[in-house]
Symmetry: C3
Subunit: 344 residues, 3 copies
């Protein structure tokens, strides 16, 4: 597929400088682009790469003399680039209809124009929306529902009764709707509390690979619209995540914690159960969050505290050997002073 630079200007709302008739067939990084490809320049440290790029056009925030070809001037070059890349990327490879080598229960309801690859399993009374793509090894449990245009990558399990929205992407190996970790102690042993709720994932969510999102004990574990999770993320039973929140790799959120909208949860962080995290909060990577975080707050550390305090404390921790010496020196001086004063 080819589009002209003029069209790229229109798609991105950018202004074209130079020949707007040239044809663009792909996107690439400054370093690796070749003829017919478009790049973006947003990081001043890459000036050298901009100068040397072999790409045919560049998206910039202000016209740049280092590049000798046509440019698209856009407010946010990376965002403009993402839009062009989306336009030029090949569609995800579908399958023509329902494979005979898939196993689709006769009581399920299958939409139009679906791609159900071989080796997929669709359970009783499951509902698969129009244009859905289910890759090999996908398991869709009884009565689960998959919204239109959703793409589910290989070996994902969406267990019974769970509800997946429209335009969702679920990457390979992820498990949606395993039982929450709910047990009651009876003396030394653990008695299972049946997990009878579901997982609900709203529209335009993207879930990374090998995630675990547990079903609720009652009601639902709920992932709001446009939430993005990275790989190996753990989301416990009855967690609620607000719209537009981002959860980075290997983070874990324990049961019943409620995350606001537009929250950023850093990699390898952990949130205990039954917390409230306000809208727009930011939780730095490797934080251990053990109490509520207010809207817009930035926290880090273990246990998590205001980010500025954490930075200060981190600096002081590194200077602990010096602090120890200072105290030792004081002890010596005070001893000497005591002697002197006593003598008098």
């Amino acid at each position: 597929m080819n589009i002209s630079l003029e069209e790229i200007g229109q798609v991105t709302g950018g202004r074209v400088v130079g020949d707007d008739g040239i044809a663009i067939s792909g996107v690439n990084s400054l370093n690796e682009a070749g003829p017919g490809e478009i790049c973006f320049f947003a990081d001043q440290r890459l000036s050298e790469e901009l100068k040397k790029t072999r790409g045919s056009a560049v998206i910039v925030s202000v016209e740049n003399q280092l590049f000798n070809g046509p440019q698209v001037v856009a407010a946010n070059p990376e965002l403009a680039f993402a839009r062009v890349a989306t336009l030029l990327s090949p569609a995800i490879a579908g399958y023509p209809g329902v494979s005979e080598r898939a196993v689709v229960h006769e009581s399920s309801v299958i939409g139009r124009n679906v791609s159900i690859y071989p080796l997929v399993y669709v359970g009783k009374e499951a509902v698969i929306g129009d244009d859905v793509i289910l890759f090999p090894g996908v398991f869709v449990g009884d009565r689960a529902r998959i919204g239109v245009r959703t793409v589910i990558h290989p070996n994902v399990a969406v267990l019974r009764d769970c509800v997946i929205g429209k335009d969702v992407i679920i990457h390979a190996g992820t498990v949606i709707g395993a039982d929450g970790f709910g047990f009651v102690r009876d003396g030394r042993t653990s008695v299972k509390i049946p997990q009878t709720g579901i997982v609900q994932i709203d529209d335009q969510v993207e879930i990374g690979a090998n995630n675990c999102i547990d079903r609720a004990t009652f009601g639902r574990t709920w992932i709001g619209s446009r939430v993005k999770t990275d790989n190996l993320v753990q989301i416990g039973h009855n967690v609620v995540i607000g719209d537009d929140t981002v959860v980075v790799a290997q983070a874990g959120i324990a049961g019943s914690t409620r995350i606001g909208r537009g929250v950023m949860i850093g990699p390898q962080s952990g949130l205990i159960d039954h917390l409230e995290i306000g809208d727009g909060a930011m939780i730095a990577g490797r934080s251990g969050v053990a109490k509520a975080v207010g809207a817009g707050e930035i926290v880090s550390g273990v246990p998590a505290m205001p980010h500025r305090l954490w930075l200060k404390i981190t600096g002081l921790i590194k200077r602990l050997p010096r602090l120890d010496e200072r105290v030792r020196s004081l002890e010596k001086k005070v001893k000497e002073l005591e002697k002197l004063v006593e003598m008098e």
Copy 2:
């Protein structure tokens, strides 16, 4: 399914107050319960919810005037509730026999009343006990053995020769019996040590989703009876976990470490290899355990230390900026004192 409140009293060993003839068809939370459903009340902070619940009956520890209907008074309401919920929950959906679309090696031994869903693979000389349920995508390796009534969820791999007990539940995506991480350095490169042992999982164990439990180098990695693991847990080769131990999400246990009985291992904690953890020990979330923990000890922090000490230290770390100021103030005062004393 409906049961009377009288039966619920019998099942839970509780005392019924009010109409014991009413029919209960399900369980729910105080908030979400409706007619025909029973809830439990154990957390005093939920008094408002108790007052407003639309459920038909409540399990309590002492009779409560806020609720206007029949009550079951039980020593441990949550435990009583778990037992009722188990009774009322629908059974896990089985499959009528061995699907023709499963691949079951002719040399395997298949028990009675099994549910082998389509797209399951059972290897040579594997043994599948009576009443076992294997969901689509399950792989059972050659000579592996699965005990009676065990349920294995979609896309789990139980690799060759591993032994799974009775009444075990393994959640989706988990890998039992991958090779342990055993290499010897030969100059710069790593030479693999063949991993010839197995994983043995005893009765009534429940393993979370996307866990990895590695096979032993020799002998066995051994998970004791009634152990419960949450999601994304890593258990290295030759680890031994005692009966009734609980391992919470994203924890990792390195090779040859021996965990006692009834131990609690918190989320995102890590235990190095070749440790001994005593019976009943508790390891807090996000701890990094680098040396032995005695029976009944409670540890936390990185490196892990007695929990009380960690709490104290955590408090002191937060006051490091203040400590730094105090030392600075002392330095100033001592300098002044030195001047004064010298002058004299």
Copy 3:
């Protein structure tokens, strides 16, 4: 399979002491070995086990009087043992050819002597090398290429266009080539940056179970030769890992970070994006690495610092309660001194 001790001497470059004609059929630990089995002795703490072993022969670094049978004296007994174990271990069980119950696209290119188990999926124009073993549930995407003698365990997904080298082992449940976590903010929402690159895994790599190795935004995420990863490891888009590097369980490496050769990355450690880690560096378990690490450096802690400094600081942190007391005592003494000096 049986081999004589004489052959074992030849294979390991060791010197046989005692009867070199005895037949060895297997390897085991000192504790569990029986007749016909060989063990190794390298850890002096296991002297008692050496004395009691029922194994027929032992590999040692120097002749040892505690063991009463033939010995193989080798410079590195554990390495010698690994070589013998490799020789004596049964080969991984293959499948005779391409199962009719696998789904292999007609446009794919399949080598000689492959084992394609039932329930495998191989996409369009994929290339499967000679002697490759693909276990049930493996997904090989369109145009992906798998090098000769590579073994891929159950339920692994190798997504479109990815390239796997020769003699690679990939353990169960791993996902190679899911989309990198690339989004641009547009106001409150996240716009996906299409991930058009691939993952390239070089020869003799071993990847653990339930890993996630993301495809590059452009170009490739690249895992060098003989790299070994443990379970549940996360590797972001465009990461480059040099030859012979080892990544232990549950570690995470964020996008575009470049790891040198022969690096050791400890368990549960995290590396932020766009870092450079020099050859031969060592990153301790649970480290949080936020800046570059030079060749040969050893770092630990959060944020990571030189290992010696971290050890010192860890000790000081444990003594914070004492430091606090010392400062309090100084404050008291200085107050008294001030009084005394003022009085004069």
